[in-house]
């Protein structure tokens, strides 16, 4: 039913817009994002087409990524990305969710805005500076703690990445907590529920889905993060042995694209394979963001009475 009204609505909308020049310009600006996304998909697919036809599933499943031998198996890279991201989320999900609850419900009123601003500042530090800190301070620390030759490991990348996605998780899940109507909180407190009982029995059940969305957005940010990860991950295109060894170097997808794009000849298989990897990233983040959006949109929090 929705698609039908949409199809019928489209020509009518254009007729209407043609008689309203200002509205038409505004509409064009608003649809710019849609156009850009479509163009992005089109061009990345176009540039990657050579790799898809020549490599097929090898681009995802192939075990070897060796530019010199013209081998472009993306598995170790994708594995590296997922390894670094899951490590990062393992750290930042508990930290972020607890922080958001603490700020929204427990911290005294006067401190809430200043602390939120600090988190916001943390979010605005560019990834290249996180990378710099990772290379100059964190990696040597990791190397000396674990007695490694080099501190550039999946673990180091996870740590840096965890710090980077923390503000996303704190921000989005904090927003959903504040969106819980105050009526529910007051109802629980007036029954004699303690602060913690109110949080556990009323606020958390109502903001569960928003917290899930915050985690998905955090995942999307983490998997697309490039520069900081590249600088501390060690960049060895192999699945570590054993596969859960976080103290081994990895070569995440984003890092490969950033490092090799400059040297890849336009139109070569390597160039195309890099775009192929880009398409994989595009699809993953697109899916994750869409799901997060859907989760946020169907909020279970309803109004109690229609006045």
């Amino acid at each position: 039913m929705e698609t039908r009204s949409f199809k019928k609505g489209l020509p009518k909308l254009f007729m209407h817009l043609r008689s309203q020049p200002i509205e038409f310009v505004l509409f064009l600006c608003a649809s710019f994002s849609v156009v850009i996304l479509l163009l992005m998909l089109l061009f990345v697919v176009m540039e990657g087409s050579l790799a898809f036809t020549r490599l097929g599933t090898q681009l995802i499943l192939g075990q070897m990524w060796k530019t010199n031998s013209d081998l472009y198996g993306g598995f170790p890279l994708i594995y590296g990305s997922l390894m670094v991201v899951s490590g990062a989320l393992l750290i930042s999900i508990p930290l972020g969710i607890c922080t958001s609850i603490f700020i929204a419900e427990i911290l005294p009123f006067q401190l809430r805005d200043p602390i939120k601003s600090v988190i916001e500042l943390l979010a605005s530090i560019p990834s290249v500076i996180y990378g710099f800190i990772g290379v100059t301070f964190l990696a040597p620390l990791i190397a000396s703690i674990f007695g490694l030759q080099s501190g550039a490991t999946a673990f180091t990348a996870s740590l840096i990445l965890a710090i980077m996605v923390l503000p996303t998780i704190v921000g989005v899940s904090g927003e959903t907590i504040s969106a819980v109507p105050i009526e529910y909180k007051e109802a629980a407190l007036a029954l004699g529920a303690s602060k913690w009982q109110t949080i556990r029995n009323v606020i958390l059940p109502l903001s569960k889905s928003g917290m899930l969305a915050s985690v998905m957005l955090g995942f999307g940010r983490a998997i697309g993060e490039t520069v900081a990860v590249l600088m501390v991950a060690g960049n060895v295109a192999m699945v570590p042995t054993p596969p859960w060894n976080y103290l081994a170097p990895v070569y995440p997808v984003t890092a490969v694209i950033a490092m090799q794009m400059g040297e890849a000849a336009v139109g070569s298989l390597e160039y195309s394979a890099l775009f192929g990897l880009g398409l994989i990233l595009f699809i993953i983040t697109f899916a994750v963001n869409t799901i997060a959006d859907v989760i946020v949109r169907r909020r279970p929090v309803g109004r109690s009475v229609q006045l």
Binding site: Y184, E186, A190, G192
Partner: protein
């Protein structure tokens, strides 16, 4: 005038930031009766009843001075357990605010968090509370339905049942009928009369007729001060203060 005082308010002052909302309010509220607090909007009615279960302190920038004695204990003493206080002093809000849970879970919420009962006993408490709130017959076959499927009036009675489930001694009602239609209002008012046999009810209203219909005692609040307090009949038929007279005559409101 009131000898057997359940609640004894002495020199109560409340500020929100620089705003002096309640000014030196003192009066005694009788046990097992309905006391109405009326006055024009913004006079501090809601703040006054929220001072009785210490809900004001949840609002940013609120300060309170003075004493409120319940059963002879000052609830603003440092060693008072505020959660136990709020269990003893139930509250019903302006707009029905059931939790987004089932009817059963709404009523069971209080007994559960206070660990007053478990299993079977909770079933009994739910039934007893819903009967007391005159809702049982309407919902007994659909206790697991969402509370949002009830009508506005039913939701408000559910909120009353939820408050009754933790065995309170006092029930505060903040304009409980302002969001309801006349038929639902009639039911709630009858319910309030019945509840006053077992509980001390304090109801805030800006509806004069409602105060006259349901209350035994009436307090008139104006700009944060207590202007008049007496049994309802004499407040309405023989007000002492000129302000009260004008308010009842509808000259302002």
């Amino acid at each position: 005038m009131v000898n057997d005082a359940k609640v004894d308010i002495r020199n109560l002052n409340v500020w929100f930031g620089d705003n002096h909302v309640l000014k030196d309010v003192s009066f005694k509220i009788r046990e097992k009766a309905v006391t109405a607090i009326m006055g024009p909007s913004g006079c501090g009615k809601t703040t006054l009843i929220r001072a009785i279960n210490r809900m004001n302190e949840l609002i940013c920038g609120c300060r309170t001075s003075g004493e409120v004695y319940i059963n002879g204990h000052n609830i603003y003493d440092g060693n008072i357990n505020v959660y136990e206080l709020r269990r003893k002093v139930g509250m019903v809000f302006q707009k029905p605010n059931p939790f987004p849970k089932s009817i059963y879970e709404n009523v069971a919420f209080g007994p559960r968090i206070h660990k007053m009962a478990n299993g079977r006993e909770i079933d009994e408490i739910v039934e007893r509370s819903l009967r007391e709130a005159a809702l049982w017959d309407e919902v007994k076959d659909r206790l697991q339905d969402s509370a949002f499927n009830l009508s506005g009036g039913q939701q408000q009675r559910l909120c009353i049942a939820r408050a009754l489930a933790v065995k309170p001694e006092i029930i505060l009602m903040d304009e409980p009928c302002s969001a309801l239609d006349p038929a639902a209002t009639t039911k709630i008012e009858a319910l309030i009369r019945r509840l006053s046999k077992r509980y001390t009810v304090i109801i805030v209203t800006h509806n004069l007729q409602q105060a006259a219909r349901v209350s035994d005692f009436t307090a008139f609040l104006y700009e944060g001060r207590l202007i008049e307090y007496s049994d309802t009949k004499s407040v309405f038929e023989n007000p002492r203060s000129e302000l009260t007279k004008n308010y009842i005559a509808g000259k302002f409101g």
